[in-house]
């Protein structure tokens, strides 16, 4: 389980990925034509930290849920997930169940509601350990306390006996991280792990995650709004808009020279380090709700450089060199 990956952190999409999501579509169960995610491909190499960014509502969370078969009953996915040598149908959530925890662990967006309010966090950790080959019963509590200490909890004994409502947001997030680590997963999906936290705690949690990823050789899919955090933690990134990947490539390149007008807008209103905001502010307009996707390029209605053709032709994601791919008709014209 704890293989130490020898693959270096690459900046090219990995040829031999740990995780590959292919042709992911997520639509309403009642009406599969109404899609929250529409044809997404994504790869993560062993030990690699990859970012998935985009505004609220662009489909980041549902993508992560689909990978674990955890979508709400109202939503249904299709596409395939490859993990190492095995391949799974995303349309069959039950088949994905064995991957949960041990292969892929997830940290959820809101630590405030992601723990059972009527159980101590220690008991919840015990539940997870029991399920994932933790130590025998009598040593389990010891292990719980150790795990909490490992994620930087100062008084692990006390915290283990606390109920979630007695803990701060940052502390709850540490508990959830400990839960994810207890399974020693090959891939950690961190869904905006710091959005609900204030800035200093945010930095602590990011430090913790990066240390863990580095020390354990764990791969991470890091979902975020915050390009500042992404720049500091990931090598490659996918930019998502309205259920599609609109740009992908090495973080350094994409941030230095964004090609898609949406990425440009994101980078343009990227909060500075001393004035970091939880939500991306100032792109005019909002992500279209699922079910009312514009025809042609989905960003066209908000795009400052859209031309007539953008409203009819749906741009494909294509390589533009330097391992960057962009889905924009005008991207190459913009280059000079």
């Amino acid at each position: 389980m704890t293989e130490t990956p020898t693959t270096p952190m690459t900046e090219t999409p990995p040829a031999d990925p740990l995780l590959a999501l292919d042709r992911v579509e997520i639509g309403l169960a009642a009406d599969p034509q109404v899609r929250a995610v529409d044809g997404l491909d994504l790869r993560v190499a062993p030990g690699e930290a990859v970012a998935l960014v985009g505004e609220s509502g662009s489909g980041k969370s549902v993508t992560a849920y689909a990978a674990l078969g955890l979508l709400a009953p109202a939503l249904r996915a299709s596409g395939t997930l490859r993990l190492g040598a095995s391949s799974y149908d995303l349309g069959d959530p039950g088949a994905l169940r064995p991957l949960r925890g041990g292969e892929i662990s997830m940290i959820f967006q809101d630590p405030g509601t992601s723990l059972n309010p009527v159980m101590t966090v220690g008991r919840q950790l015990e539940d997870v350990l029991r399920r994932h080959g933790g130590p025998p019963r009598r040593e389990r509590w010891r292990r719980v306390v150790d795990l909490l200490a490992e994620v930087g909890v100062a008084a692990p004994d006390r915290v283990a006996r606390a109920y979630p409502f007695e803990l701060s947001g940052g502390m709850r997030q540490r508990v959830l991280i400990a839960m994810a680590l207890s399974c020693e997963p090959r891939l950690l999906i961190a869904d905006e792990p710091t959005t609900a936290l204030d800035t200093t705690v945010q930095a602590q949690i990011m430090d913790l995650l990066m240390t863990l990823v580095r020390d354990r050789g764990m791969a991470m899919l890091f979902i975020s709004h915050d390009l500042g955090l992404v720049a500091g933690s990931c090598r490659r990134m996918y930019v998502m808009y309205a259920g599609r990947v609109v740009e992908s490539g090495p973080v350094a390149d994409v941030l230095r020279r964004p090609r898609h007008p949406y990425t440009k807008a994101l980078v343009g209103c990227r909060p500075t380090a001393d004035r970091r905001l939880a939500r991306l502010p100032s792109i005019p307009g909002t992500v279209p709700p699922i079910g009312s996707m514009p025809s042609g390029c989905r960003f066209a209605p908000r795009c400052p450089i859209a031309v007539e053709q953008c409203r009819t032709a749906d741009p494909e994601l294509r390589a533009v060199g330097g391992n960057v791919s962009v889905a924009c008709l005008r991207a190459s014209e913009e280059e000079s």
Partner: protein
């Protein structure tokens, strides 16, 4: 009574002091409710002194006056109430005006039957409603869900009294539909006589518990913490019990407390339908014959039971929900 309670509270420690302090308020509820009944009984036409003094025109006004004085009925109403409640607290409810017995004596046997009926109805309702709500919440919109919701809707719509009559007609000859069998006649006979009354009384309550728990479960099953549990392969059985139901149970507990009164009131009606010699008949007889010591004692008991159930629910709430428990502790 208060002093005893507070003493007990001190012994039990801080965790239960607050609900018990709340019970000071509840003691006030008991006093207010019984005082209102006390007044109402005086408003019913028919002068008990006149009735007791003797039949028809054969009594002189002097005789009536004497009876009135003997009964203390010429005291100011507040004083009468005070005398009555202070005696009642010591377990002395006075004598029946009509039957040749103390009220406490009359009440003791009847209360047992009414309490049995209420407890059985409650148990039956919970035993039926909770598993059904689990099934229904698990497969929303499936046939089991639709059927149980239909049954639920009918259960609420049909008053327990009608249901009692219906059951009596349907089960005639199959199950006992008349009278009471004490436990001393054997558990089988006892429960046999109680089954239909408990069903009639519990049906409406069961549907309330069902609806509340089902709605709660649907909520908790789509909660973030259930998703977390699933993300770590916690067995579904445990998720339903420890994660979903445990949280969904909080509103259900509130329903238990709120409905305790309705359940007792329903019991009085159902008893009459099934000729169970519980408090129901005692109250009806008491009202008809202006036997107000009996009626007042019955009401007092019902109010006290209601308050006690709610107190119990408060304590249970603290057991189920650590947020309540620890914020008090």
């Amino acid at each position: 009574m208060l002093a005893v309670r507070l003493n007990r509270a001190r012994r039990l420690g801080p965790r239960v002091v607050l609900p018990l302090a709340g019970s000071v308020l509840q003691a006030a509820v008991v006093a207010a409710a019984t005082f209102v009944v006390f007044l109402l009984m005086r408003l019913i036409p028919g002068d008990p002194a006149r009735i007791l003094a003797g039949p028809g025109g054969s009594v002189t006004p002097e005789q009536v006056e004497r009876t009135r004085r003997e009964l203390g009925l010429d005291d100011p109403i507040a004083l009468q109430y005070w005398n009555w409640i202070t005696d009642a607290v010591r377990g002395d409810f006075g004598n029946s005006l009509v039957l040749n017995d103390t009220v406490a004596e009359l009440l003791a046997d009847r209360l047992v039957i009414t309490l049995q009926l209420s407890v059985y109805a409650f148990t039956l309702a919970v035993v039926l409603a909770i598993p059904l709500s689990l099934v229904a919440a698990r497969r929303q919109g499936a046939i089991a869900d639709k059927l149980s919701r239909l049954a639920g809707a009918t259960g609420v719509a049909v008053p327990s009294f009608w249901l009692a009559l219906l059951l009596i007609i349907v089960a005639q000859g199959v199950l006992p539909t008349f009278g009471y069998a004490p436990l001393s006649e054997g558990l089988g006979a006892h429960l046999g006589h109680m089954l239909l009354p408990a069903l009639a009384l519990g049906a409406g309550f069961a549907t309330l518990v069902f609806e509340t728990t089902r709605a709660g479960l649907i909520d908790t099953l789509s909660s973030d913490y259930v998703r977390t549990a699933r993300a770590f392969q916690i067995p579904e059985r445990r998720i339903y019990g420890r994660y979903a139901l445990r949280n969904a149970f909080l509103p259900t507990l509130t329903i238990f407390g709120l409905e305790a009164g309705a359940l007792m009131a329903g019991a009085l009606l159902v008893e009459n339908a099934f000729a169970l010699p519980g408090m129901g008949r005692l109250i009806v007889q008491g009202v008809l014959s202006r036997d107000y010591p009996v009626v007042q004692a019955c009401i007092l008991v019902i109010v006290v039971v209601f308050v006690a159930v709610n107190l119990l629910m408060d304590l249970l709430y603290a057991v189920v929900d650590p947020r309540v428990r620890r914020s008090r502790g």
